[in-house]
């Protein structure tokens, strides 16, 4: 069950400490061990960082026994916050008590922190200790105490706060006021509305800053409910804008019960405030407000009318059919007005209603009234009708629009063309295309065609546009290509690619430009093909840039992306395009990309950008397997001639190494090989020996006669094993046995092998049992993650029936055993294969049990 836990733990070295927390009983033992280790850290002379991280981890796993060691840091300027995070989260009385004690020992800013932690824990036992702090000389302390009492929110806390009103300086008073309101909220939540209202009223009557009094009044109204409507009316009638707004907000919180009050005060107010009332009424979706809003929408002046029209749009979708028809009648009335803003508003609201799945009757009403406007003899009304026909997508209006698109009045003509974007159906599309081709330079027709295309059936539209290419002029073809590109899809792509291959420079120009912005990845193969084969170097380069852009911006699998990078580097002649490849690699740092980038270090020309990419990953804290990244950085240090990058790489490598060590320690990894002796192991020591702290097996001069295994003395069931290996020889074979059994008096063993060597890298082989590969990458891909003749990291994880293997961070196996007869426990053994002249090196073998 903790498979993923592990996976992420490894990937994100920096957060490892978090992943070790307890999940099941078995892990709990580890937590106890870890807890005592962390307590030791806090009681030692470790540096600030180490202690900070110990506190952080204890916030997640610490228990009462850790409290004392953490509380020591409550007065520490740098560590107090870390300590408080822990104490705020550790359950039980000890943490609360430690914080209360600190109230007396800690001073200044750190005391404020302690009070805030008590506030977070809502520790009502601290009430008595907090009360005197309300009048502390340090305003920050007093403020924190007010907040804490507010957060505790009990009756005694409320009483203390209420008593403190009117004492102390203004800034503290403000917080005391808010503390009261916090208490009022929590008391109301507990059902004690009476005390809550008494509190809000006390705040309201006190000499406090106006924003608190406003908040108090607002809360009083809301808490009182129906009996607060009188107060609501008073507040709404006040001159003061802030009070009015605050009351409006209370009305909103009350919901529909406030409607009669709002309607009632409406007539007493200025137009400006009437408009605000109208907005509030519409938002409560109360149909009883409809008559008032309709009146304002038809008879109101200027801004009030405008507001009311929008309010109708807000209210209308919730109305019944008849009421909707009345509203529409009003709106069409307003659409005939001579006032541009009013007309625009009415149109927008009608269009909104039209888009809201209206009933047949409503639909018919909209169509009839729109047509009427279109046929109107008044220019303004006709224009309004045309715009509405387009916005409401009334397809029956298309013939009329096509006719009006030839109108002598420029405004009518433009409006009709625009409307065609909304009205044109598939059947009418050729006519709109013809219109667009006739005036290829007119953006209005182009936009209309685009608008139609965006909602009409995709392939059908594309075919119609592609067919129009046939007899078109170059300029017209360019327009059609743009339209096709906006559409996308298979037909569009085919047509644009064909244009890129044409003999016409202008078309090539347009087509390669459009392909460079294509939004689906099926554009990649044709772009590569164009980059390889076009003669014109400008378009060739453009195609290549478009090709690498696909990997940068569009969705691809890691393998697809890597292929694009490889292909681009193979084709690119200029550094500009090569650089783009590294931008892709930097953005998508999966293990394959890291290994690939590392491999590019060998290329002198590419060493610097590859180094920069690797260093950038490290500096940004990009989640990459620590072993993998460390190796990449090490290779940067070894290969790059750029001093700056070399130095930064070395710095990052040191950082990651330290971090990874700490993380592994936190996870409970233990070394299985001390670098000096075979303690804990047994096997043929003629074949297996220790050199330079490495385990070495086999020979490069003499053939190894038979399979030999260095076996662990101990058996393991669920575990994670990490080691490094290096295989030398022309043809190599070795591996790591897991969950394996010894065969008495025999050189062979029986069990799973995480295989290594030519043809078998990273495969799971069943040694002496089923004698076959159980899982692994496809044959031709097994070499990919391996650094030949060099050190590689190997990671093997066994949890229940599941076995997973990674080489250099790249997962090669995820296998689940289905045969219940096969044992899931056994020894670990390092192999050297017989019948080969080869040598295996192993080092840094460590394991943690799960």
């Amino acid at each position: 069950m903790s498979a993923i836990k592990f996976y992420f733990a490894l990937l994100f070295s920096a957060c490892l400490w978090m992943n070790t927390a307890s999940v099941n009983a078995a892990d709990k033992i580890d937590t106890t061990k870890e807890t005592s280790r962390l307590v030791k850290v806090l009681n030692s002379n470790n540096d600030t960082y180490t202690k900070a991280m110990a506190c952080r981890r204890l916030a997640a796993i610490g228990d009462q026994s850790t409290v004392e060691s953490i509380a020591k840091y409550l007065g520490d300027e740098k560590l107090a916050t870390y300590a408080r995070s822990a104490l705020e989260n550790i359950p039980g009385k000890a943490a609360s008590a430690a914080l209360r004690t600190a109230l007396k020992n800690v001073k200044g800013n750190q005391l404020v922190g302690v009070i805030n932690s008590i506030s977070k824990r809502k520790d009502s036992q601290a009430t008595a200790d907090l009360i005197p702090l309300l009048s502390d000389k340090n305003a920050k302390v007093a403020i924190a105490a007010a907040h804490a009492l507010g957060s505790i929110g009990t009756k005694p806390a409320a009483k203390a706060l209420q008593t403190a009103i009117g004492k102390g300086d203004a800034i503290v008073q403000r917080e005391v006021g808010f503390g009261c309101l916090m208490c009022a909220r929590s008391l109301a939540k507990q059902g004690d509305n009476k005390t809550a209202i008494a509190l809000t009223q006390a705040v309201n009557q006190a000499n406090l800053p106006k924003n608190i009094k406003l908040a108090a009044t607002q809360l009083t109204i809301v808490l009182k409910g129906k009996s607060g409507l009188g107060l609501l009316a008073t507040e709404l009638k006040t001159e003061n804008l802030q009070r009015f707004r605050s009351a409006l907000q209370a009305a909103r919180d009350l919901g529909k019960i406030s409607t009669p009050t709002l309607i009632d005060v409406y007539k007493t107010l200025s137009d400006e405030r009437k408009a605000l009332i109208i907005a509030a009424l519409s938002l409560s979706h109360d149909p009883t407000a409809l008559p008032l809003i309709r009146e304002a929408a038809t008879k109101g002046a200027g801004p009030l009318k405008l507001q009311a029209i929008y309010a109708l749009g807000e209210l209308a979708p919730t109305l019944n059919e008849n009421a909707q028809l009345q509203v529409l009648k009003d709106l069409f009335g307003q659409a005939k007005q001579n006032h541009l803003e009013i007309v625009t508003a009415a149109q927008a609201v009608i269009a909104k209603l039209a888009s809201n799945q209206p009933s047949e009757k409503v639909k018919a009403f909209i169509i009839a009234n729109t047509n009427q406007l279109v046929e109107s003899e008044t220019l303004q009304q006709q224009l309004a009708g045309i715009q509405l026909a387009g916005a409401c997508r009334i397809s029956s209006a298309t013939p009329a629009m096509l006719k009006l698109a030839q109108h002598s009045n420029a405004d009518v003509k433009q409006a009709a063309i625009k409307a065609l974007g909304g009205t044109t159906s598939s059947a009418d599309l050729p006519q709109l295309i013809a219109l667009a081709l006739k005036s290829a330079n007119d953006p209005t027709t182009g936009d209309a065609l685009k608008a139609a295309g965006s909602r009409l059936p995709l392939e059908k539209t594309a075919n119609t546009l592609a067919a129009a290419m046939q007899d078109a002029s170059i300029e017209q073809k360019q327009l059609l290509l743009n339209q096709l590109a906006a559409l996308g899809g298979a037909t569009a792509l085919k047509t644009v690619v064909a244009a890129a291959h044409s003999n016409e420079d202008a078309l090539q120009n347009t087509a390669t430009d459009l392909l460079g912005k294509w939004v689906s990845i099926d554009v990649a193969p044709p772009l590569l093909e164009l980059a390889n084969n076009l003669e014109n170097s400008k378009y060739k380069i453009r195609s290549l840039r478009g090709y690498i852009r696909v990997a940068r911006q569009l969705n691809m699998t890691p393998a697809q992306r890597l292929e694009v990078c490889r292909n681009t580097l193979a084709v690119a002649e200029r550094n500009d395009e090569k650089k783009l490849v590294f931008e892709v690699l930097r953005r998508y740092p999966n293990p394959l990309a890291v290994n690939y980038t590392t491999s590019l270090l060998k290329d002198k020309q590419l060493n610097v950008p590859a180094s920069a990419t690797i260093v950038s990953w490290a500096e940004r804290g990009t989640p990459i397997d620590a072993d993998l990244l460390q190796n990449a950085l090490q290779q940067v240090v070894a290969t790059t001639s750029n001093e700056n990058l070399k130095q930064r790489a070395a710095q990052q490598q040191a950082r990651i190494q330290t971090q990874a060590k700490q993380d592994e320690q936190g996870l409970g990894f233990q070394s299985l090989f001390d670098g000096k002796s075979f303690t804990g192991w047994h096997g043929n020591e003629k074949i297996f020996r220790i050199q330079n702290g490495e385990i070495v097996a086999g020979s490069l001069e003499k053939m190894v006669e038979r399979n030999e295994f260095l076996r662990s003395n101990k058996e393991y069931d669920d575990f994670e094993l990490k080691l490094e290996f290096k295989l030398l020889g022309e043809k190599t074979n070795a591996g790591v046995q897991i969950r394996t059994a010894e065969i008495p008096d025999h050189h062979e063993v029986i069990g799973y092998q995480a295989d290594l060597g030519h043809g078998y890298w990273g495969c799971l082989y069943d040694e002496s049992r089923r004698k076959k590969i159980l899982a692994g990458p496809p044959k031709d891909q097994r070499d990919i993650p391996v650094r030949m003749n060099d050190w590689n990291s190997y990671r093997i994880r066994c949890a229940g029936p599941r076995i997973q293997i990674w080489i250099n961070g790249v997962q090669t196996v995820d296998f689940t055993e289905e045969d219940p007869q096969i044992p899931l426990k056994g020894i670990i053994a390092l192999q050297i294969h017989g019948n080969l002249i080869n040598q295996a090196h192993y080092r840094n073998v460590r394991l943690r049990e799960l």
């Binding site: 993923i4 509030a280 749009g313 009334i394 969705n555």
Partner: protein, 430 residues
């Protein structure tokens, strides 16, 4: 507050969703026209202040400055260069030199004339500064992620409520038409019964290391203590201030999951009419080169957070799948649907990308005036942020967690519950 029936609203809406090819033009129209009617009297203007404004903040501020009824009066920033840049921007728009600058935003909040603030610091500051602004009586537009922990998200919501302020989270896609339309397709049953929604996230990073210590700069140039704010102490390094704070646990939200998740999970909640609730289980999946987290709502609908497998419709994509079809959309403004029938209802191509806060800031200012709730108000924000944090916690733990949307606690899970909050550095108090 928790109205479970809304999740069923879709079923009844479905019958109303006749396949209409003629009528379906979704448009985002302002709920109110306030402030759009040309000139506004100076006394009726909203006076705005800014806290911590750099790249994203500058983009949002640009849209705010365009509003005829808004005047930007003051900028507070811990960086001298940013104070200068933002002042220049505001003065140019205002046609004077009156934009005030502060190093400490508390001075800005103490001003009586300021009605509202734009908060665009890094994540570590958002909730604290928002709450302090609310308590000082200001309405708040805060960039996302608005809270660095579950506990702060809820506390922010409560503070906004208690102080009677208007709050808008900078999750502007709630006011961008292609996202609105995609959500509408799901809400109105045009996709059939929804079974899975997908929310894109970016690469997750959870760093706990400290960059090498550098000498602290002159606080008049960069005020490091103030930059850290409520985050725990650590030694100064210039790179943090230049943006390298991202991915660091103390400064970032939910191992960076909220960077996109605060937007995309939020849109999924919207599409499902689930603003009153959130998924009840969160399970990280072992998918190579991805961070897949599968979540499930109480009614069985799945929400999948993932990095890969998107169609290429721009950043922050979402996808909704139902028994009758699917829709996918992203920041490019383009929308892909499963059938020509769904295609017929698509709005005309919009030139407003998903990153644009054009309508979102207007929504905010309208609500400042009408005291109504903007699209990404504190309630909406709290739920989607908390759900994102729950997902991030599941990912950090590497195992499935159960969450109770009412108590906002993980179910019988001490370990996860202890990851819901962190301490705020002394002496910050909210």
């Amino acid at each position: 507050m928790t109205n479970k029936s809304t999740l069923n609203r879709r079923n009844f809406m479905k019958t109303a969703a006749a396949a209409s090819t003629v009528f379906s033009v979704p448009t985002i129209i302002p709920g109110t026209a306030l402030g759009l009617n040309g000139t506004v009297a100076p006394s009726e203007r909203i006076i705005l202040g800014g806290i911590g404004i750099r790249r994203r903040g500058g983009y949002v501020l640009g849209h705010m400055l365009e509003q005829p009824d808004v005047r930007f009066a003051a900028i507070a920033d811990v960086r001298a260069d940013q104070r200068k840049t933002v002042k220049a921007m505001a003065d140019k728009q205002n046609g004077d030199t009156k934009c005030d600058t502060y190093r400490d935003f508390r001075e800005l909040l103490a001003r009586d004339d300021i009605d509202a603030v734009l908060i665009a610091t890094g994540d570590r500051w958002h909730a604290t500064a928002s709450m302090m602004a609310a308590e000082a009586g200001k309405d708040v537009y805060s960039e996302k992620p608005c809270a660095i922990s579950i506990e702060l998200a809820r506390r922010l919501q409560q503070t906004i409520q208690r102080t009677g302020r208007v709050f808008q989270a900078g999750t502007q896609r709630r006011n961008v038409s292609n996202f609105a339309h995609a959500s509408k397709l799901a809400q109105t049953g045009q996709l059939g019964k929804i079974h899975t929604v997908h929310s894109s996230i970016y690469q997750l990073i959870d760093r706990h290391d400290w960059l090498p210590a550098q000498p602290e700069p002159d606080p008049n140039v960069i005020d490091w203590n103030m930059w850290l704010g409520p985050a725990p102490w650590r030694p100064y390094n210039r790179a943090y201030v230049e943006g390298a704070w991202r991915g660091h646990y103390d400064f970032d939200s939910g191992a960076k999951l909220l960077d996109w998740g605060a937007h995309t999970l939020d849109i999924c909640q919207w599409a499902l009419d689930a603003d009153h609730t959130m998924p009840v289980t969160y399970e990280p999946k072992d998918v190579p080169d991805d961070n897949v987290i599968e979540c499930e709502y109480e009614n069985g609908i799945k929400l999948v957070m993932r990095r890969n497998g998107w169609m290429g419709l721009g950043t922050c994509p979402v996808r909704f799948e139902g028994e009758a079809g699917w829709v996918e959309t992203g920041d490019s403004g383009q929308t892909a649907v499963s059938s020509d029938q769904l295609r017929a209802s698509l709005p005309s191509p919009s030139s407003i990308p998903g990153t644009s806060p054009k309508f979102h800031v207007r929504d905010f200012f309208n609500c400042v005036k009408t005291r109504s709730k903007p699209a990404a108000n504190e309630d909406v924000m709290a739920r989607s942020h908390i759900a994102c944090h729950a997902a991030a916690i599941a990912w950090k733990l590497g195992r499935k967690v159960k969450f109770d949307p009412v108590t906002e606690e993980f179910v019988n899970d001490d370990e996860a519950n202890r990851m819901r909050s962190r301490a705020m550095r002394e002496p910050w108090t909210v």
